[in-house]
């Protein structure tokens, strides 16, 4: 499934949180959306899902289509739908079935009273009619695909670690074999080791099923691993777009350079191969006042 | 460290408390802007004015009973007619508004004091205290306010104090029970822990951090209680354990007329209407206060303009 976002604008109150954003996610493509917190990147995801806050007004188009088959067919498969124009019914049918989401903090997005298996089968129950055994079978199979120990299937979220919880959340997102996965800062709440595992897992799952993925993050170092192409946002506007590798190598815009620089400084280089002492305190001071925190002012 | 050498000079920094008054005025103006605000402030304002005026002047003397004209219909001298003793309805309602105002204010003060004391004990770090108090509140809350009033009325007789103490205790317990979960959350929050690690005392944390952040919940609960006190006064007075006979109050006006509701319905409608208006206005007022408290204090100065 492909998504075409054109001239999207979202206003909350008198401020435009998303302003004239145009982006494209091709079928089966992994695309990144990067920006500091408050830059409006999550609002784009919410607009795509038809889950904007009640006081938000949106204009523009978000079209779901299929690149291969031409975009005439509104055949009930969620294709040819404009997320901003269609009704809640259509969007509800789209969510969880064709478009799934993995959120930032699995501790708050998983229901505290459902076991891992129950959680995973929720979207199936919403969208498909099956027997009880089939639900459980499909759920267990999906839990296995995300690498969760089957012994943990009857555990409640608080009995799982952060990484395990995020695996359950991912399983919940992919159990219906969606055609687009929106990952909204899926690694931010996790520790370094779990972060890496989750990114690798997401990439593997998406590529295996041929689904597209929109990966939202503030961290370029994660993007390098997860996406081929990415968009950079600042204060609701798109400031740069391009191949992830070329953006990382030669960022054009000053803001992108700032983000890439921050990500680079906060990672180890070559796992101890190069001397990590090389870029220490002297040049740490250089970027001090290029702070991006005026974005909110 | 020589701090004064760097940073802006003192004049560059915005000043502190001098704008308290203008903020207060802005708050009142803002509250008046909506229909609910105008209604609740108008009703409460009228109530207070009438209550004060009634201390010095009423259209007719309160105890000007006149057996020949009991239950007489409204007339130019007696706008709302006369009650069963022939006294002027309007004068009694006006005088009653003073009694009810006193009862409401004192009850809310008492309830707030009891509630805050209980909340302080519930979030206390002293071992055992919070557990015991929580259980005690849960146990005491099951005793109805009417029962407390009945028990108090036995030694002291029917009096305004009985209404105030019974309701104050009952609503104080209620307040503590309802505010507890939030108070505990705030007490465990990072900013409280941060203050503790600075060496702040428990009293400091309660006054500076917990109560201000708890205020919106407390305002709503207290305004709800204020409305309920007016109803409770009527109820207790009707039962004969509230305001003693001969003392004007809305509950007394209702209690004397309600037996004759089938014959003289309007004599019940007037005090009933006053009570209803005031209760609704108090509840709305509480909501407005909470909204003001929530948005006003977490915004910056420049946002307010």
């Amino acid at each position: 499934m492909s998504v075409d976002i054109s001239r999207l604008r979202v206003d909350i109150g008198r401020t435009a949180v998303v302003d004239d954003v145009t982006m494209h996610i091709g079928a089966g493509e992994r695309v990144g959306l990067v920006g500091a917190s408050g830059s409006g990147k999550s609002m784009i995801a919410r607009a795509m899902l038809g889950l904007l806050p009640l006081d938000a007004r949106a204009s523009g188009h978000i079209r779901y289509g299929d690149d291969g088959a031409g975009d005439d067919g509104s055949d009930g498969s969620g294709l040819g739908v404009d997320a901003l124009a269609c009704g809640e019914e259509t969007m509800a049918d789209l969510r969880g079935r064709y478009v799934s989401t993995v959120f930032q903090d699995p501790a708050t997005t998983l229901s505290p009273v459902l076991t891992a298996l129950q959680q995973v089968t929720l979207p199936l129950r919403r969208h498909y009619r099956m027997t009880r055994g089939e639900y459980a079978e499909r759920g267990m199979a999906t839990l296995q695909r995300v690498g969760l120990d089957p012994m943990l299937a009857d555990h409640l979220p608080h009995q799982l670690s952060g990484g395990q919880r995020q695996r359950v959340a991912i399983a919940t997102a992919i159990v219906t074999s969606p055609r687009l996965l929106i990952a909204d800062e899926p690694t931010t709440a996790l520790d370094a080791i779990a972060q890496r595992e989750i990114v690798d897992l997401l990439v593997g799952l998406v590529d295996e099923s041929g689904a597209a993925m929109l990966f939202i993050t503030h961290d370029f170092s994660v993007l390098a691993r997860a996406t081929r192409r990415c968009y950079v946002m600042r204060s609701g506007r798109m400031v740069e777009a391009g191949d992830t590798s070329s953006l990382l190598g030669a960022p054009q815009c000053k803001y992108t350079r700032h983000l890439v620089d921050a990500a680079e400084r906060l990672t180890l280089h070559g796992a101890g191969a190069t001397a990590p002492g090389a870029d220490r305190a002297d040049d740490v001071g250089n970027t001090r006042n290029e702070g991006a925190d005026d974005a909110r002012n | 460290m020589n701090v004064s050498s760097h940073g802006p000079n003192r004049g560059a920094l915005p000043g502190g408390g001098s704008r308290m008054f203008s903020r207060l005025r802005r708050s009142v103006v803002r509250m008046c802007s909506g229909a609910r605000g105008i209604f609740s402030l108008a009703v409460i304002g009228c109530w207070i004015v009438v209550a004060v005026v009634s201390r010095f002047w009423t259209p007719q003397t309160l105890y000007g009973t006149d057996g020949y004209h009991a239950w007489s219909a409204p007339s130019p001298d007696h706008w709302l007619g006369r009650d069963g003793t022939g006294a002027d309805m309007l004068s009694w309602l006006m005088a009653g508004s003073w009694t009810d105002l006193v009862i409401v204010v004192l009850t809310i003060v008492l309830a707030a004091l009891i509630g805050i004391a209980l909340i302080a004990a519930m979030v206390s770090r002293a071992r055992g205290v919070s557990g015991v108090v929580t259980v005690a509140v849960d146990a005491l809350i099951s005793i109805p306010t009417v029962l407390i009033a009945l028990v108090l009325a036995v030694p002291f007789g029917a009096s305004i104090a009985v209404v105030i103490v019974a309701c104050g205790v009952g609503y104080g317990l209620n307040l503590a029970r309802i505010a507890r979960p939030e108070a505990v959350l705030i007490a465990r929050s990072d900013f409280v822990e941060s203050a503790v690690s600075c060496g702040a005392s428990q009293a400091y944390i309660l006054i500076r951090h917990i109560l201000p952040n708890l205020m919106s919940t407390m305002l709503v609960q207290l305004s709800l209680s204020a409305g309920t006190v007016v109803l409770a006064e009527s109820g207790l007075t009707y039962l004969g354990i509230g305001v003693p006979s001969g003392v004007p109050s809305w509950g007394r006006s209702l209690a004397t007329s309600v037996r004759f509701i089938a014959i003289h319905p309007m004599t019940v409608v007037w005090p009933g209407l006053v009570v209803t208006l005031v209760v609704v206005a108090l509840n709305m007022f509480g909501d407005l206060l909470r909204d003001r408290w929530d948005t006003g204090a977490t915004r910056d100065e420049e946002d307010e303009s």
């Binding site: 500091a36 520790d191 370094a192 779990a194 170092s221 994660v222 180890l268 925190d293 | -």
Partner: protein, 272 residues
């Protein structure tokens, strides 16, 4: 270069440690369901050094930070601050520690009272800690301005703001200003860069680097799950896994030649 700078700083091996933790055990829950967060941890924090405590979630690193600050009690073992035992609120070590230490939490929006403005937030430690000696309002204002400046903020632009109107990086630096305004001997930061975005993270790293260089006497302990963010800051690294110390040593050595498999995994995770 940091490498040479590190050698040049006062070597405090001969001195007694500022804070010493020996064989500390801390359990949560009772009976069957009890879980040991720390199982016999020993470490020391030296004056003027910056120590990073690294571990994944559930490694016990936050519990250790709370123990260092005296916010929690050890079930077994001892915590000594400047030689005095820290045990319970009435112990002399606790009082000494409380007066000379400060803390920076993970989420600045949670650790700053939402109703307070920046001026009051930063002044709070001065008001509560020194309530015996009264500080003149002007002096207090100067100290707040100094702390904000040192934390890399422009005092005039953030002065009257409340936390909700600050960006993540600004809010965390306000929290840091709050932690340094009393001139503490020990600053413990519990995951100070995890809840904010990468650009803000770098600012906070700069802030800590500036404080470390400006205050040669103060010891800084930074708790984190990410070796990447502490590489510029820490003199020493202590790796915590499952409630035990699996490796500790100078930062360069740990980064270049990790011994324990878990440390190697951490190094790999921090390098993309």
């Amino acid at each position: 270069m940091r490498g040479t700078e590190r050698e040049a700083r006062p070597d405090s091996v001969d001195e007694s440690p500022l804070l010493e933790v020996s064989h500390v055990v801390r359990c949560f829950g009772r009976g069957e369901g009890s879980r040991a967060a720390l199982r016999g941890v020993s470490m020391r924090v030296d004056k003027g050094r910056c120590l990073a405590v690294i571990g994944g979630s559930g490694s016990g690193k936050t519990t250790l930070a709370h123990l260092l600050l005296g916010l929690q009690r050890a079930d077994a073992g001892a915590v000594r601050y400047r030689g005095a035992l820290v045990q319970g609120r009435r112990s002399p070590g606790y009082r000494l520690l409380r007066g000379e230490s400060s803390v920076v939490f993970q989420n600045p929006y949670a650790s700053l009272d939402p109703r307070w403005d920046v001026e009051r937030l930063v002044a709070e430690p001065l008001m509560v800690r020194l309530h015996g000696k009264r500080i003149d309002a002007d002096d207090r204002r100067d100290m707040v301005v100094g702390a904000l400046t040192q934390a890399g903020l422009d005092p005039a632009s953030v002065w009257g703001r409340r936390p909700a109107r600050l960006s993540g990086g600004q809010a965390q630096r306000v929290a840091i200003a709050r932690a340094i305004v009393t001139q503490p001997k020990l600053i413990v930061a519990d995951e100070p860069m995890s809840a904010i975005d990468v650009a803000a993270r770098l600012q906070v790293v700069h802030t800590f680097a500036a404080i470390r260089d400006a205050r040669p006497d103060a010891a800084i302990v930074i708790v984190s799950h990410d070796l990447g963010v502490v590489q510029h800051l820490a003199d020493d690294v202590l790796v915590l896994h499952d409630g035990t110390v699996v490796e500790q040593g100078p930062t360069d050595r740990i980064l270049q030649d990790p011994q324990h498999p878990y440390t190697r995994e951490l190094v790999r995770a921090a390098s993309w």
